[in-house]
């Protein structure tokens, strides 16, 4: 009984840890934005707003089979990565907007955000140091 309980707590602890810390949201430093609400970021990624923290942004997302994408879409956007992509395909085919660009790695995402004066995206948390080492990129505090 104790063994089961400890195992469950162990699994719960690690799964929660993996879920909560798998992604880091980054923006181009030139935007001057350092923090934003989750609802603001969600609103931007699902196309309800072109702005995050009052600034116009151009976004990108990591491909859906990455752990960062899974946790970002579950925690911030509130849908699965395939549902997110389908939603944008539907919008694009009817002319209702163009979705964020897809990036296949955190390095590619950092380069995108650094090279776009109003870029925003998210990366694997393991790539946080790489982002912090790039002066054109700011880690966004989500609240």
């Amino acid at each position: 009984m104790y063994f089961k309980l400890i195992t469950s707590l162990f699994v719960l602890f690690f799964s929660f840890g993996a879920f909560a810390a798998d992604y880091v949201v980054i923006v181009n430093s030139g935007t001057g934005v350092s923090s934003a609400s989750k609802s603001d970021v969600k609103s931007f990624f699902i196309g309800n707003s072109k702005k995050v923290a009052g600034k116009n942004m151009t976004g990108a997302f990591l491909k859906g089979d990455s752990s960062a994408a899974k946790s970002f879409f579950a925690e911030v956007v509130g849908m699965t990565p395939p549902k997110f992509e389908l939603m944008w395909v539907k919008k694009e085919l009817s002319g209702a907007g163009v979705g964020p660009k897809k990036k296949s790695s955190s390095t590619e995402m950092i380069n995108f955000v650094a090279g776009k004066s109003n870029g925003i995206g998210f990366i694997e948390s393991s790539a946080k140091a790489e982002a912090e080492g790039n002066s054109s990129v700011t880690i966004l505090n989500l609240n």
Binding site: M79, L93, G95, G97
Partner: protein
């Protein structure tokens, strides 16, 4: 109208500043392969008798679309080239748009699909929705109104927490005979990305003429008609539930020569011959009502990675007492087959998506109607394989 044009011109003058902004252009599209096999089905024969029609497997590429969307500042352009059927390439949509008052009011101009319920604007997006065939509301053989129009004012009002009221008002050439003002509209409420519910309406604004792909039957000399309906959608990561009901009221006058020709061809069923009064003086009073409703339910099962499979069920009902059977004469082989113009279609199927951009669909439908005084039914199986790409 003049006020509107002046407002737009004034707005365009200010758009010069937008030229300094980045132009963002995307090119994408998709191809769909399609096959269907209809069971032996009833057909209307000479003299109105009901016989059996044998069908073979049919192959098609109903959807070949290349789309371009470009934005700069408050301006947007959209092009949707349609090579459906694998023959000539046509322009499905080509419009320009400008925001006039932030997101509250936008002006769209050109050739566009009108916002009208859940499907009209996304019918080209076959890979993204459950089902292969359009709801009967938008079946090309018995449309309630034109899918396209030319001018739209639209916008939305933010209610907070991701909830919006969306509105659109449209007009265009549509099916007008001269200076009528056809008017369409759609008003809906979206609650986050999960719930969408609203109403749509259309009025021909006076007498309308028959054209291909419109809501006026080819044997009418004129038809003053309206369409009204409502719809609901719930969607989350697992469930998709949709329902809609539409009705169309027609104050129409039949073209005696055209109806006489139909009567002479002798391919009408008894109810239609009686309705037209084929044996005597042709009945010019062509008033009638169309009604249709559908329910679509899908349940998505995550297969790991990005793959998913979605079994679905669809229930469609369509009733149009005026339409005839022969498609070559502007008829409809479904409603036109039924004695009372009413048929029910039950569909079971599944969509398999190895990736969000690839969809393989397989479904089977049963059509139920009364033909030749007795209940009849036939089946139809379809397969669709579509692939979305982006440059």
């Amino acid at each position: 109208m003049r006020v509107l044009l002046l407002t737009i011109l004034a707005s365009l003058t200010y758009s010069v500043s937008a030229l300094a902004q980045d132009m963002n252009t995307s090119v994408y599209g998709y191809v769909e392969g399609y096959a269907e096999k209809v069971d032996t089905q009833p057909e209307v024969l000479a003299g109105g008798a009901i016989g059996d029609k044998e069908n073979v497997v049919e192959y098609d590429v109903p959807s070949i679309h290349l789309l371009v969307q470009s934005t700069i500042g408050k301006n947007k352009a959209f092009l949707n080239l349609d090579g459906g059927g694998g023959g000539t390439v046509g322009v499905a949509n080509a419009w320009v748009e400008r925001s006039l008052v932030e997101e509250y009011l936008n002006f769209r101009f050109g050739k566009m699909y009108r916002p009208f319920g859940l499907y009209n604007e996304i019918l080209d997006a076959t890979p993204t929705y459950i089902g292969i065939e359009a709801p009967e509301l938008f079946d090309g053989d018995h449309l309630l109104l034109t899918r396209e129009t030319n001018l739209m004012l639209h916008g939305r009002h933010d209610l907070g927490d991701g909830n919006y009221i969306n509105y659109a008002l449209t007009t265009g050439n549509d099916q007008r005979m001269s200076d009528e003002l056809p008017l369409g509209g759609d008003l809906n409420y979206t609650m986050g990305s999960k719930i969408k519910t609203g109403v749509s309406f259309y009025t021909s604004g006076g007498p309308a003429k028959p054209i291909s792909g419109g809501g006026v039957l080819p044997w009418m000399s004129s038809d003053n008609f309206t369409v009204f309906g409502g719809y609901f959608q719930f969607t989350d990561d697992v469930w998709t539930v949709q329902a809609a009901y539409y009705t169309s009221d027609h104050k129409a006058t039949r073209d005696v020569a055209a109806v006489t020709a139909l009567c002479t061809k002798n391919e009408l069923n008894t109810a239609q011959r009686t309705r037209f009064n084929c044996g005597g003086t042709i009945n010019e009073d062509g008033d009638y009502e169309v009604s249709t409703y559908y329910t679509r339910i899908g349940y998505t099962i995550d297969l790991g990675g990005l793959a998913a499979i979605t079994p679905y069920f669809q229930y469609d009902v369509y009733e149009n007492p005026e339409v005839i059977y022969n498609k070559d004469d502007g008829g409809d082989a479904e409603a036109g087959l039924a004695d009372d113009g009413m048929f029910t279609k039950l569909t079971l199927g599944t969509v398999y998506r190895p990736l969000p951009t690839i969809a393989m669909k397989l479904d089977y439908s049963q059509h139920l109607q009364e033909a030749g005084g007795k209940a009849d039914n036939y089946g139809e199986i379809r397969f669709s394989f579509s692939y979305l790409f982006r440059l």
